[in-house]
């Protein structure tokens, strides 16, 4: 009987692996559609930071809208990072500076920390977001490509504070980084799995006629969960 249970457990485990055909791949087809073009990014105003709702109770909020907004923020950050790191001569230093400032607006504040890792070291270091972005701009490669994909958003927002009303969630992303040197034709490449905190903050705004509750989605600290 005991062995029988083991067999059943193992067969079950074996069978599960074939279930991947049914698995929904989060963000697999949505990351590209909501991201503006590179040209738009440079001049884009992040005024679309807010989601407005008529009633101020999170339980009745359209969580899906918040998820989409969080995903948009991550998509924007991904595009900005691409702009900041690129070695394309057509992207000027001023445009890169502008992209850094736009990227910073996606975060709660400049004190948020981004963890950085490398396949060549076990060490994980954390930098304030501005320092991280400026380091990206100064990478010594002749060509750099940074791509983010596979966004997974935690559905369960947890209340951090009642007054002001603040909720928190987390997003998982995969970053693929590739930096190459033209002279030696050698490249460094890594794939980093990151978790990013998202904050949903409620703000009362006057819409011209009356006060309404607006929810602002911002990015927080970012950790590295795996590098390869």
């Amino acid at each position: 009987m005991k062995n029988m249970k083991h067999i059943i457990l193992t067969i079950l485990a074996f069978c599960i692996i074939s279930l991947d055909a049914q698995v929904f791949i989060p963000g697999a087809d949505s990351t590209e559609t909501s991201v503006p073009s590179d040209d738009e990014i440079i001049t884009m105003n992040t005024g679309y930071d807010t989601l407005a709702f008529n009633k101020g109770v999170l339980e009745i909020l359209a969580i899906k809208d918040l998820e989409q907004e969080a995903q948009r923020k991550v998509d924007f950050l991904s595009k900005y990072i691409g702009q900041i790191a690129t070695k394309d001569v057509e992207v000027t230093r001023d445009q890169k500076r502008s992209a850094i400032n736009q990227a910073l607006k996606l975060f709660l504040d400049e004190n948020r920390e981004i963890q950085v890792s490398s396949v060549n070291s076990d060490k994980v270091e954390a930098y304030p977001v501005r320092t991280y972005l400026e380091h990206l701009m100064l990478l010594p490669y002749t060509s750099v490509s940074v791509k983010w994909s596979n966004v997974y958003i935690a559905k369960d927002l947890i209340m951090v504070s009642a007054n002001p009303l603040v909720y928190e969630g987390v997003i998982s992303v995969v970053q693929t980084f590739k930096g190459c040197y033209k002279e030696t034709q050698s490249c460094y490449q890594d794939v980093t799995y990151k978790n990013i905190i998202i904050r949903v903050e409620a703000e009362q705004v006057f819409n011209g006629e009356n006060e309404e509750l607006v929810f602002v989605v911002k990015l927080g600290n970012t950790s590295v969960t795996e590098t390869r």
Binding site: K2, N3, K5, H6, I7, I8, L9, T10, I11, L12, A13, F14, C15, I16, I17, S18, L19, D20, A21, Q22, V23, F24, I25, P26, A28, V124, A126, S149, N150, Y152, A154, K155, D156, I158, M159, V160, S161, A162, V166, V170, S172, V174, Y193, N195, T225, E226, R228
Partner: protein, 271 residues
């Protein structure tokens, strides 16, 4: 049987392995991995919309939930997979008549964060026990509730002189001088029943600048919500392996009394 298990474990070691005629892509592996503890909790509760299997009940056991639970085991730990207790636990949790849910808002789960520190310039480690606190009126947060004893408080008991003698009160406790001036013999002047509060000590040492924090090395979660069981969850970093991320690392059978003892003696906090 063992060969079968080995085949299974081997089959999940590469992102593009062919299993039963199906190739698993990196993207699918990412989906299978439990990257966030929140994902783990949702899958444990059979509430992850990405892992919705056809509901089927056999002997009161929800097979869909059972599938989710098996996938949350550290499948590379054959001792855990082979243990009959694991099967019992999974069957118990997956029983349709048991309300075996876990939630962030429960009061009976803990995180132990193993931190890298320097103490007086020397590198070391310190294990902090944390617990979610709060309510819907004020919001939620993680709070430090305990710390593993991180200093050995040794004492030298080599002399009858180094203590407060019975009539010391008659001389105005004159020997208290030694308590304040002889560090190595300090405990001679303190009750034998004295138990240091290491969390208070930690707060003091951090404020005095004696301890510096250098990041969290790893986290172990302890879940005590399931009746007569507790289990731990750890993060396994395995590139291209589906059995990766936050997974069950151990399962133990335990009554409430023993859970209380464990919490007080292993997590160093009150039950």
């Amino acid at each position: 049987m063992r060969l079968f298990l080995i085949l299974f474990v081997l089959s999940i070691t590469h992102g593009y392995s062919q299993i039963s005629g199906i190739f698993i892509s990196d993207t699918a592996v990412f989906s299978l991995q439990s990257r966030q503890l929140t994902q783990f909790v949702n899958r444990f509760n059979n509430e992850d919309p990405q892992f919705k299997f056809e509901e089927k009940f056999v002997d009161g056991i929800n097979l869909a939930r059972k599938k989710n639970l098996v996938y949350l085991l550290n499948l590379q730990d054959t001792t855990l997979v082979y243990d009959s207790l694991t099967t019992q636990f999974i069957d118990f949790v997956a029983k349709s008549n048991n309300a075996n849910r876990i939630s962030y808002f429960d009061s009976t789960w803990y995180a132990v964060a193993n931190c890298n520190i320097t103490y007086n310039g020397k590198s070391g480690k310190i294990a902090l026990t944390l617990k979610p606190e709060g309510n819907n009126m004020v919001g939620y947060k993680w709070s430090i509730v305990g710390v593993e004893p991180f200093l050995s408080i040794d004492n030298i008991q080599d002399s009858i002189i180094n203590k407060l003698s019975p009539y010391n009160n008659e001389v105005n406790f004159i020997d208290l001088y030694h308590f304040f001036n002889e560090k190595e013999r300090q405990l001679n002047y303190i009750s034998d029943d004295f138990l240091p509060d290491y969390l208070t000590l930690l707060v003091y040492l951090v404020n005095a600048g004696n301890i510096e924090f250098h990041g969290v090395n790893n986290i172990i979660y302890y879940f005590f919500q399931i009746e007569n069981y507790y289990f731990t969850v750890e993060n396994y970093v395995r590139p291209n392996v589906a059995s990766s991320g936050w997974l069950i690392s151990s399962i133990k059978q335990m009554d409430d009394k023993s859970k209380g003892y464990l919490i007080e003696n292993t997590l160093f906090t009150k039950y």
